[in-house]
Each structure stands twice: as C-alpha cells, then as structure tokens.
C-alpha cells in the first residue's frame, strides 16, 4: 500500500510543480467549459445532457495526454530501473500510477460539479440523473485511463504513448459511430461491449449492473495487460 501512496504523491507533486500537469488540466477545463456553455443558452434548458454526450470526445484527446508520460518517461529517463529494483511488486507500480492518474481525473471531474451547481440556480435540475451521469463519466474515465496507461507501458516515448492511446480510444468511439452501418450481429456485439454505448445507457439515469461490470472489466483487463507488458520486458 505504501508504494501506491508514495507513487501517487510523487506524480501529483510533479503535476503541481511543473507545467505538464496543470497545462493539460487547464486545457481540459477550458474545453469542457466551452461545451457546457455553448448549447446551454440555445436550448434554454437546465440540463447537462449535451455536456455529458461530449465528454467521451474530451476524454479521447485529454486522457492520453495525462497518461502518456507515466511509464514512458520513467523508462526513457532510466528511473524505471530504480523503481523496479526497489522492494516493490510490478503490480504495485501499475496500481500506483493508475491511482495517481485517477486522482488527477477525479479532481478535474469534481471541479466540473460547478456546472450542475450553477444550473441549480437557474432552474430545476434532475439531481438523480446528473449523479448517475457523473458515475458513468467516472467509470468511463477509469476504463479509458487503464487503456492509456497500457499505451504508456508499451513504449519509452511519451509521444508514441499519446498516439497509441488516442488511436485505441478513438477506435472504440468510432466503432459506436459506425455501428448502425454494420450487420445486425456485429451491431449487437458493439452495443454489448462498446464502452461508449454503455456510457450512453447510463446517461439516461439508469445504473445497471451490466454497465458497471463492463467498465470494471475493461479497467481490470488493461491494468493486467500493463502489468504483463512490464513483466515481459524484463525477460527480453
């Protein structure tokens, strides 16, 4: 446990002390603010449906940027050798990095709670619906983070990690977009396994076990893949 906590503290400290962390955060908040404000006054409705629908797209561009340096830079700077020769298990390193990333994203999502709070001043908001949507947003972030962490474990170049993460997330997104043109059997698969589809389900305010399990499964699979990738490299 102390390893995970120490890694989290280190990552947050680097995020706060150097531009790399807060530049991404500020850019994320600016983009999210834009999507929140742009349709609000056109529609004249006190809901956040539009903002939540845009959120996956924001994630696709920003989560790879937040995750790219986590393992890639450690390997490039040789500090991974330090981490791996301390009395730590590889899985603890993976979880430490993952928790630091999730901490960062959770903090950003927490800041966006200002949006529903300000909406509540303007009109009646459906608190249950928004709570379910936030849970969905957090779960989607959790699985996307695991995917991008895996991308970072694959390479020692942060830029490559960004592109790989972006491609992985974008292909998940596009799969949902092109689903209507696919054969019915394939459509069923996409609806069943596509994280964006499940995210959209949850935006309706219904939290079903299937949705939660899918996000958790994706997270666990990609954390395990990152772990395998790091272990495998030692044997090459």
């Amino acid at each position: 446990m102390h390893v995970i906590w120490a890694l989290c503290q280190k990552e947050w400290r680097i995020n706060l002390d150097t531009p790399q962390g807060y530049v991404v955060s500020i850019a994320f908040l600016l983009a999210s603010g834009f999507f929140f404000g742009s349709n609000l006054f056109l529609n004249g409705q006190a809901d956040m449906r539009h903002w939540f629908a845009m959120l996956p797209l924001l994630y696709i561009f920003f989560i790879p940027a937040m995750a790219m340096r986590l393992f890639a830079d450690e390997r490039k700077d040789g500090t991974y050798e330090l981490l791996a020769t301390m009395p730590t298990r590889t899985i603890e390193l993976v979880l430490g990095k993952y928790c630091s990333l999730m901490g960062h994203l959770s903090a950003l999502l927490l800041l966006t709670v200002l949006y529903p709070l300000s909406l509540a001043l303007l009109g009646d908001v459906d608190a249950g619906l928004i709570a379910a949507a936030y849970l969905a947003a957090w779960l989607l972030a959790a699985s996307f983070s695991a995917i991008c962490l895996y991308a970072s474990a694959l390479t020692s170049h942060a830029m490559v990690a960004y592109i790989v993460g972006l491609i992985l997330l974008l292909s998940l997104f596009l799969l949902t977009q092109v689903a209507p043109t696919l054969s019915p059997a394939l459509q069923d698969v996409v609806v069943m396994l596509g994280p964006i589809n499940h995210f959209q389900n949850m935006l309706r305010g219904v939290v079903s076990l299937a949705d939660v399990v899918l996000f958790m499964a994706l997270t666990i699979i990609f954390l395990a893949l990152s772990w395998f990738e790091l272990e495998r490299r030692r044997w090459r």
Binding site: I14, T79, T85, P87, T88
Partner: protein, 314 residues
C-alpha cells in the same frame, strides 16, 4: 556477501554475460572492470533483480535472486548515469525513495538528513534536481541508494562525469563504507579502481578474465622485466658484456639520440632476474657512463589491455 554462480544472460542469441562466477566477501569493495559492452551493467542488473538471469543464479547474503523482494531490500543500487526525477527537489526525491522502501515517516526524515550530510547535499536540499550539476546528481543517486541502509551496495560507474575533487570525495565515501557494507562497483577509470577496491574483477565479452587484488593482477601480467637504459656514446661494449654474462637477454629497442647518446630497452623473461644490477656492473666493467636506468612495472592498464584483447578502456 555476494556470490554469483554461473550467471548467464542472453539477448536473443548473443550472450551478454556468460558463466560468470565470483564471490564478494562481506565488507569488501570489489571493482568490476571491463571495456564497454563487456557485460558490467548487465551483471549488475541481474544482481539487483532488474533482469532475470537466463541461467545460473546468485545469492546475496544467502538469498537467491529468485527471492527477489527480499534481495531488493538488502541491495542499494545506483544505475549508470544516476537517474532521478528531475522535476523534484532533492528533499522530495529522497523522501519519495524512503517511502517507496516503506520507511516510517520519522525514520525516513532522519535517514534523509543523515544521508544528505554524508553525501554533502545539505546546501542543495531544496533545489530541483534538474538545476544541479552532474556531480550533485550523482551524489543524490548515491544518497538514494543508501537510504534504506542496505547491506550490499551495487554502484554502476559512480564517478563518471565528476570533477577530480568530487571523485576524491566519492572515493572517500566509498572507502568509509567499506567494512560495514559489501560494495560492488564498476568503472573504467583504472587508477580509481586501484585506489578504492580491495579486489578487482576484469570481465570481457561477458566472461571473467581475472580476479584478484590489484597487486596480484599486476604481478600476474608483468611476465618479464623491462629495463630502459640511456648510455653516453654508443654503449656497444656494454651490450656485448651484458649479453655474454646474461643469457636470454633481449635488446628490444635501440635508438641513437641526437647528442650521440643511445637509448636501449633490455628485456628479460624472468621478472625476478637481477637485470638492473647486472647492467650496472657491466657499465662499471666497460667504463660506460649510465645516464638513465629505469625499470618498467606492469600497471593495471597493461593487465586490462592484455586481458581484454587490446581494446582501449574508454
């Protein structure tokens, strides 16, 4: 105590380290020498459980490398180029290392203070590592490797990039550690290894070439005796006299200098022969004037060059 038993590491089909066996006693400073690409770093990476050996094993204080977590608790490691997090300040970095080792916060504080004092880091504690010079970064790495009070220290080129003063400081530090900790350090600066290490191990192409104290190794490499002599005039009489009294003598080199003097190099295959004395007596007998006489000793550099196939040591 470090004991390696037929350690091998393969990258694809080529061996980086092959059948390496050696022992470092408790409290001893062992130097690992070899040309670039000889397998020094690979050996160290295996001993610190970063790379698993392809075959063979090593024990560190009786623990096999397969008991990786326990071994890593006993070992402090400074990788080549002393990597660290450049975005952090020295204090935060050392605290992080302490936490990763699971030191309780109070102990961690004490240890950070102790090690930063030992490595002369007090005046840079709150500066970012990226702002520090190479020498300070190296010392930060060294402090980090000793923070959890390891029994064994494995240092990969601890003095590269340091200025002469810093090198001497680091040497003193390592000498101070000797006796309490088992140290294995690699280097390609030979005088340094000679000054710091109790014993030396030379490897080339992944294989052990020689192991012993610096004195033993130089003796082993010496082979014959080489004498540089400068004589006034041609000195031919002296040579003839010497050849007749001394069998197996070889005149390796003869050079006439501008002022009429002659410089010779005499070689005798037996290192313990009294060649210098015989030369003196021959000079007296032939009334030759000896201007210079110097016996050449094999240095560690010669040993190194001989054992590593003449490849240069840089």
């Amino acid at each position: 105590m470090i004991k390696a038993d037929h350690l091998c590491r393969q990258y694809g089909t080529s061996f980086a380290v092959q059948n390496l066996s050696f022992e470092v006693q408790q409290g001893e400073v062992m130097g690992l020498l070899g040309p670039n690409g000889a397998g020094k770093s690979t050996t160290m990476k295996m001993l610190t459980c970063f790379l698993p050996p392809s075959s063979g094993d090593a024990t560190i204080h009786g623990l096999s490398l397969s008991q990786s977590l326990q071994v890593r608790r006993l070992v402090g490691y400074l990788p080549e180029h002393a990597p660290s997090y450049h975005e952090l300040d020295v204090d935060a970095y050392l605290q992080f290392i302490g936490k990763m080792h699971g030191l309780p916060p109070a102990t961690c504080q004490d240890k950070v203070a102790e090690m930063s004092k030992a490595c002369g880091l007090e005046q840079v504690m709150f500066r970012r590592i990226e702002e520090l010079s190479k020498g300070f970064r190296q010392r930060v790495g060294l402090a980090a490797s000793m923070l959890h009070d390891p029994k064994c220290l494995i240092l990969d080129e601890p003095t590269t990039g340091l200025d002469p003063n810093q090198i001497i400081e680091i040497r003193h530090l390592i000498r101070r550690l000797a006796g309490q900790k088992t140290v294995l350090l690699s280097s390609h600066i030979l005088p340094e290894v000679e000054a710091v290490c109790d014993r030396i191990m030379i490897i080339d192409q992944g294989q052990l070439q020689a192991l012993g104290t610096p004195a033993e190794l130089t003796k082993q490499a010496q082979g014959g005796l080489l004498l540089h002599v400068t004589i006034q005039g041609s000195g031919e009489q002296l040579c003839n006299h010497l050849s007749s009294t001394f069998s197996n003598l070889e005149i390796q080199h003869r050079e006439s200098l501008d002022n009429g003097d002659t410089r010779y190099q005499f070689y005798h295959p037996d290192a313990s022969s009294a060649l210098a004395e015989a030369t003196f007596h021959a000079a007296v007998a032939t009334q030759a004037v000896l201007l210079e006489m110097r016996q050449e000793k094999a240095s560690l550099e010669d040993v190194f060059r001989e054992l590593t196939g003449g490849t240069s040591c840089t």
